[in-house]
């Protein structure tokens, strides 16, 4: 299991935690109660106070254990920053109007030749021109490569986010045969391949799928032994949150696990999220985020709304306790695998998310929860 953070980890400094905050050329040092970090807005006020910039809109970032500059803009990532700071929480503050958005993300601090990250990542000195676009939270990812740490390098697990957009998924699959190495030598086995990408479709625009890639899994379920029609049906059934594991026909562009894994906690990152580091576990569940899958209900008032999750009632408790138990092990730092919606958004949504999270478990009822 691959846990990047543990609650209460690094508990050497129990009570307080040192904070070093940098704004322009100025540094401020102060301390925080590690156990009671408070809310982000309080922290934001505190920063404005200690730097004496009460009416200036700023962006707050911190250096995480890999030396990446990550934003703090809601309670969630604030708590994360506090809980992972060891021993020191480094805060970087920029004026919003002057902000260099590209500063955020993986390897960002490295490029600035930050001392801290240079220690951690001595190998990375390449320079790339930064394209300033916008805040990552203004985007929705359309695809991602996930689970790089647990897959063989020859495989690629690609997640396509369909949302409600008009762009077609845009690919076709076909039957074919692939060669496998077996104890009896090489063997030809039937397989499913990507046969065509529709120009302008989602699949093509991501660049992560190509013609003749062999499809190995659809949302965690192996396709070997399944017919083309079955795989088609599985893909369509999962089309709103499609995770396909392929063996790319072109093996030259494979993700090579970089060496920092050895230096750090072995966390995997989601390389594709516009360079945005993944904050939570690389969990992978076929039970996709149900907020996306929700059916729409129109009450007689005529206002459409998403169907909320049911609170368990007594009769289904028996079955539900089973699930609760199942989840106990994964409970540690349970944040739904929603790498996307957790990307910094307005803090208001976070509270709603919190209330959603326990309910989501109830939907995992069908006994096919996949954990890593």
């Amino acid at each position: 299991m691959n846990r990047s953070h543990r609650h209460g980890a690094g508990s050497g400094c129990l009570g307080t935690m040192e904070v070093k905050s940098k704004f322009g050329a100025e540094f401020r040092r102060f301390s925080l109660e590690r156990s009671k970090p408070g809310k982000f807005e309080e922290f934001y006020g505190l920063l404005q106070h200690v730097h004496k910039i009460p009416n200036v809109d700023v962006l707050v970032g911190y250096a995480d254990i890999h030396g990446d500059l990550l934003p703090i803009n809601n309670d969630d990532n604030y708590h994360k920053a506090v809980s992972t700071a060891n021993p020191l929480l480094r805060i970087f503050i920029q004026k919003k109007e002057e902000a260099d958005y590209s500063a955020f993300g993986t390897d960002t601090l490295i490029k600035k030749k930050n001392v801290l990250t240079n220690v951690l990542r001595p190998d990375n000195h390449r320079k790339k021109p930064h394209i300033v676009i916008s805040m990552p939270q203004d985007f929705r990812p359309v695809s991602s490569i996930i689970d790089v740490d647990i897959l063989p390098e020859t495989h690629r697990r690609v997640r396509l986010y369909k949302y409600g957009m008009e762009k077609p998924l845009g690919f076709y699959i076909r039957d074919g045969s692939s060669v496998r190495v077996t104890p009896h030598g090489l063997e030809k086995v039937p397989g499913i391949f990507i046969s065509r990408l529709v120009p302008g479709g989602l699949a093509q625009s991501t660049g992560l799928l190509a013609v003749n890639d062999e499809v190995l899994e659809v949302n965690g379920i192996e396709v070997s032994g399944k017919s083309l029609d079955q795989v088609t049906d599985m893909m369509i059934a999962n089309s709103r949150n499609l995770i396909i594991t392929v063996r790319p026909a072109n093996q030259r562009n494979n993700v090579v696990r970089n060496s920092r894994t050895s230096g750090s906690s072995g966390q995997s990152t989601d390389n594709s999220l516009l360079g945005y580091p993944q904050q939570m576990e690389p969990s992978f569940e076929p039970e996709d985020e149900d907020s996306e899958e929700d059916d729409i209900i129109i009450e007689d008032s005529g206002v459409p709304q998403q169907i909320p999750k049911a609170v368990p009632n007594t009769e289904s408790l028996e079955s539900l306790t089973q699930i609760e138990l199942n989840f106990e092990s994964g409970q540690n730092g349970f944040i739904p695998s929603n790498e996307v919606s957790l990307a910094p958004v307005a803090s208001g949504t976070n509270t709603e998310f919190e209330t959603h999270a326990p309910d989501q478990k109830l939907l995992e009822e069908d006994g096919t929860i996949i954990t890593l």
Partner: protein, 1042 residues
């Protein structure tokens, strides 16, 4: 490689045991007429009949309920079958020239059929020589000589081999080669030509040593097997088709390829007979087709019957399938609608009797079996108690109603009897009466309803092994169709020579495709039913015991609801006949609702307590109050961009079908005008199939491999508005405090509409509801995000049980539902099952079948499964059939997978489309079509299985040592072994395979009905309209074509 760990509910041993007690999958019996029959045999002593099929199947039938089934290891056509009379043994000849000996073996008191021996004629044999090509030894005819336990095999190479039947060993020394025969022939007849294949072998009834051998060239020889010499020769010159040897041995009848038959006298001493006593071409003088088979039967009352098939004038009636029955001056040409396979007469076979005295003639046709009573003047047809041609008109939908109340059963029976009065005389009863049915009288009555293309609904008794026709309801009489000429056709045929007589009920021609029945629903408590058809007609009928004459109220409902921009390009609606019409006793129409546009009805449901019927088409759905005869609701579900829905018939296959039908109709018309049919129906069909295949895969696609587009369903897919299911429920829709009538509709695009209905409440239960308008208010609308078609909707009560049918609760036939709240609605789509709470619709549980298994849901039903171990224990589960032909069972409301079985081949799309589940308390059968003419019955419950349990009084010589090579354990019984039947245990433990087993043992009474609360609850089963029957969806076709 990453390993996923699936957290399934742990394999709880107790649960596993319970599952075994609840569920078991068995295919029990095949109902209907065997597909593609190819051979027929009759055992006059045991009075059993065997039918062989082109796929190598063997089916033996006796009295109703007596049925044995066997299947050859190779799927070769069964070309001939012969019973060893009285022994329960059957010799079959396949078209690969192998012989197989089948035996009816008693085991545990009930009999079954198993293959005992097989024999393949070796290629290298004495007379044929080593150089003979294999075709020379092909067996053409078989004659059993039971007295000597021998069989004679006639071959293509003019030889006759003899075989010991008990061991299937060739009797080497006895083979009769053509040389032995040739030497007794005059030289001028011999003239160097070969005799041709042996066409016929006939035994002498009284003198077992004599055999009549007919060679293709026309030579007939009476061979004395004991003396090994030729007794007599008849020097025929016409190519021989078949022979019949008269009872006393003095008359030989031969039929020929030119349509003539000849009668030879065998009393003329030793010298060769040169000329027949008489020769006739019955349908001459113009060239005639061959007489394939001829029978000569003499009668005590003087004269004789000559029965032959074929021989029709080649030019004018060469395409007819006819059997001619000639007695003295009376000739009847039986005109069948399908090819004649074989026929036999039921007559006396005692050697000491002077006369044959045929009682009945049984004709096996490609599509049905017809039995004529030859003792009653006019030779009427005897209604068959089984082997009914289910497909007499193509089956378009089916439904099963279990636990039919006895009162309704009796009323349907009497309606059926009035419809086709049983022949009065006792002699004309069914002649095939062998064996005894040991199966208990079924404790529950099951009714199978089949809707047909010609607008009829047939009612079948599906309680037992034999599917018996009960009643036929025709809806065509209500409409004006263009099939009026049918009567004139019949008349025109009558004045003609030959004297045709239409026999049999197989009629694949439907004159108006709009009459086709799409959906059927029957309320077994009120005897009301709704029949919905292809042209949007929804017909409410009510069972009446008296004939009456009344007008039917007609209403049309516009489902487009004034949507602009749509023009229906399909068929017209049917025009109903106006004014009072006479109706026979039985189901009489009361109300006709016609949907506009007149697209085929895709869903229908009935609530007799509220007097409401709901119906849906590809455009929308409506609710109709048939008590007040007023529409309650009409709602359009059509997507604005959907143009395909306005095209009329839903698929290309349908339109092809239509064109086929038109070509059939053309053929039929040409038949009336006396012209020869250009091509046969089957070749037409093949042509059409080829055409379809071509259409489906254009040539350029053949170059690239098959590929599938991956795209989520979108809102504007075509045909998204097709209403797939409709459901009435008394539940909580608007608030948790008040429950009331609701109506639910699900569409092809994953939309669910729920309406709250205001139905004036009945004063007391059982009474009709007071007059007063019914109102419908839209309560909720659910759009499933995955947009898969909604297959079924059901409301579960507070205990998680499905709500009972109308009247079940109020008449104490079912446990009253828990109305204390906590209701939930189960919505089954083609991809997943979901349970939502009510009244606030929120997802409670779900199972994504397609995402996990890659299969789509085709049929769904909720059913109560009773445990074999514990009388009172039962569970309600969701059974579903997928597009891969698997049956899955899920718990309700937890939606946990319980068991799954593979049931139907996934290529068999018509089987999957025709599958019908029933909600049955104990046996839980389902049916699906294995061929156009046969229903396979399967059972999902571990309890009570309907399967043939029967015995036969067999008297083969026990002295023969046979056990040595007979396998002791029967593979055929494996089905029954898995689930020991209660019937077997209680009744047949003493039923040893004793030939003297008295005929009166099957008097044990059926057990008292169990009155445990569970069985009462389970007695509520009926065919819920949950599932959609018999329709081939566009996806099915795509699956198939793709």
């Amino acid at each position: 490689m990453m390993k996923f760990r699936f957290r399934r509910q742990g394999a709880d041993p107790q649960r596993e045991k319970l599952k075994q007690e609840l569920f078991a999958f068995n295919k029990t019996v095949e109902h209907g007429f065997p597909n593609q029959p190819s051979a027929l045999a009759f055992d006059p002593e045991l009075r059993i009949m065997a039918i062989g099929t082109r796929s190598g199947g063997v089916k033996i039938y006796g009295a109703p309920g007596v049925e044995f089934t066997g299947l050859h290891n190779d799927t070769a056509t069964v070309t001939q079958m012969h019973f060893l009379p009285g022994q329960g043994r059957l010799l079959t000849l396949l078209d690969d020239s192998s012989l197989h000996l089948w035996e009816i073996v008693h085991q545990n008191g009930c009999a079954h059929l198993e293959e005992a021996l097989s024999f393949q004629l070796p290629g290298r044999l004495g007379f044929d020589g080593a150089s003979a090509p294999p075709s020379l030894t092909r067996v053409t005819v078989v004659l059993l000589m039971p007295a000597a336990d021998m069989a004679a095999l006639g071959t293509e190479g003019s030889s006759v081999f003899f075989l010991d039947v008990t061991t299937l060993m060739l009797l080497e020394g006895q083979t009769l080669g053509p040389d032995e025969v040739l030497c007794s022939l005059p030289d001028d007849y011999r003239c160097g030509k070969s005799l041709g294949p042996v066409e016929s072998l006939q035994g002498h009834l009284r003198d077992p040593t004599k055999i009549l051998i007919g060679y293709s060239r026309g030579l007939l020889v009476i061979w004395n097997q004991a003396a090994r010499c030729v007794d007599h020769v008849f020097l025929g010159n016409q190519q021989l088709e078949s022979l019949c040897w008269g009872r006393n041995g003095s008359t030989v009848v031969s039929s020929h390829s030119d349509g003539s038959y000849a009668v030879w006298s065998a009393d003329a001493g030793r010298s060769p007979t040169l000329q027949p006593a008489a020769a006739t071409t019955p349908y001459g003088p113009f060239p005639c087709k061959a007489i394939n088979k001829i029978l000569w039967r003499n009668c005590e009352s003087g004269g004789h019957f000559i029965i032959f098939s074929g021989g029709m004038p080649r030019a004018s009636y060469g395409d007819r399938h006819c059997v001619s029955v000639l007695r003295a001056e009376t000739l009847v040409t039986l005109d069948f609608t399908s090819r004649i396979i074989d026929f036999f007469t039921v007559h006396s076979t005692q050697p000491e009797d002077e006369f044959d005295d045929p009682q009945a003639l049984a004709v096996l046709l490609e599509e049905e079996l017809v039995v004529l009573d030859l003792q009653t003047p006019g030779w009427p047809a005897v209604p068959a108690p089984y082997l009914a041609p289910l497909h007499s008109s193509a089956i378009t939908c089916s439904a099963h109603v279990a636990n039919v109340p006895t009162k309704l059963w009796a009323r349907i029976m009497s309606a059926g009897e009035q419809q086709s009065p049983q022949p009065a005389s006792s002699t004309s009863s069914w002649p095939i009466t062998g064996g005894r049915n040991l199966a208990q009288e079924p404790s529950q009555r099951g009714l199978l309803l089949t809707g047909h293309e010609d607008g009829t609904v047939r009612f079948w008794d599906a309680s037992g092994v034999a599917l018996r026709p009960l009643y036929k309801l025709s809806t065509a009489g209500l409409f004006q169709t263009d099939c009026e000429h049918a009567d004139s056709l019949a008349q025109a045929a009558e004045d003609d020579w030959p004297p045709f007589r239409k026999v049999g009920c197989f009629d694949p021609y439907s004159d108006d495709p709009r009459l086709g029945v799409q959906k059927v629903a029957l309320c077994k408590y009120t005897a009301q039913m709704v029949v919905a058809g292809t042209a949007g007609q929804v017909l409410m009928l009510e069972l009446s015991d008296m004939p009456s004459e009344h007008a039917v109220s007609v209403t049309s409902v516009d489902l487009l609801q004034d949507r602009e921009g749509f023009t229906w390009k399909g068929h017209e609606r049917l025009s109903p006949r106006t004014g009072p019409l006479p109706w026979a006793a039985g189901f009489q129409p009361r109300v006709l609702v016609q949907c506009l546009p007149p697209a085929a009805v895709t869903a229908v449901t009935l609530h007799t307590e509220w007097c409401l019927v709901a119906f849906g088409t590809s455009h929308g759905f409506g609710v109709f109050d048939y008590q007040r005869k007023s529409p309650v609701l009409a709602r359009c579900t059509l997507h604005p961009n959907d143009s395909l829905a306005m095209e009329g018939p839903l698929s290309r296959v349908k339109s092809l079908k239509k064109s086929l039908r038109q070509s059939f109709r053309r053929i039929r018309k040409s038949r009336v005008s006396g012209k020869k049919r250009a091509t046969t129906a089957s070749s037409k069909l093949q042509e059409a199939n080829a055409q379809l295949a071509e259409q489906a895969c254009p040539h350029d696609v053949e170059m690239t491999p098959v590929q599938r587009r991956i795209e989520p369903r979108s809102a504007d897919d075509s045909l998204s508005g097709v209403v797939r299911c409709l459901y009435f429920a008394d539940t909580f829709l608007r608030d948790a405090a008040h429950h009331g009538p609701t109506m639910w509709a699900g569409t092809n695009s994953g939309s669910v509409f729920a309406y709250a209905l205001e139905v004036p409440a009945a004063a007391a239960c059982g009474e009709k509801r007071p007059e007063g308008a019914v109102e419908a208010v839209l309560g909720k609308e659910v759009q499933l995000m995955h947009r898969a078609p909604v297959v079924a909707i059901a409301v579960l009560d507070g205990r998680g049980r499905p709500l009972p049918e109308p009247y079940e609760a109020s008449r104490d036939l079912a446990q009253a539902p828990d109305m204390q709240g906590g209701h939930a609605v189960l919505i089954a789509s083609e991809e997943q099952f979901k349970v939502f709470t009510l009244p606030k619709v929120s997802a409670k549980t779900k199972f994504k079948l397609t995402a996990h298994e890659g299969c789509r849901v085709r049929k769904v039903a909720l059913a109560t499964f009773a445990s074999v171990a514990c009388e009172d224990y039962a569970e309600t589960c969701l059974a579903c059939l997928t597009n891969l032909g698997d049956v899955h069972v899920f718990s309700v409301p937890g939606l946990r997978p319980q068991v799954h079985y593979s049931c139907i081949r996934k290529e068999d799309i018509s089987g999957i489309a025709s599958c019908v589940f029933t909600r049955h308390g104990q046996a839980y059968p389902g049916f699906y079509l294995i061929s156009p003419s046969e229903f396979e019955r399967f059972s999902l419950s571990a309890r009570n299985i309907t399967e043939p349990i029967c015995s036969l009084d067999i008297s083969w010589p026990r002295s023969v040592t046979r056990g040595s090579y007979r396998p002791q354990e029967s593979p055929k019984l494996s089905q029954a072994n898995g689930t020991p039947s209660i019937i077997l245990a209680s009744q047949s433990c003493d039923g040893s395979p004793d030939p003297a087993h008295s005929k009166g043992t099957d008097t044990s009474e059926p057990p008292e009905a169990m009155l445990s609360p569970m069985s009462i609850d389970s007695a509520t089963s009926a065919d819920t309209t949950l599932d959609t029957t018999g329709d081939v969806t566009v996806e099915d076709v795509k699956d198939f074509l793709g």
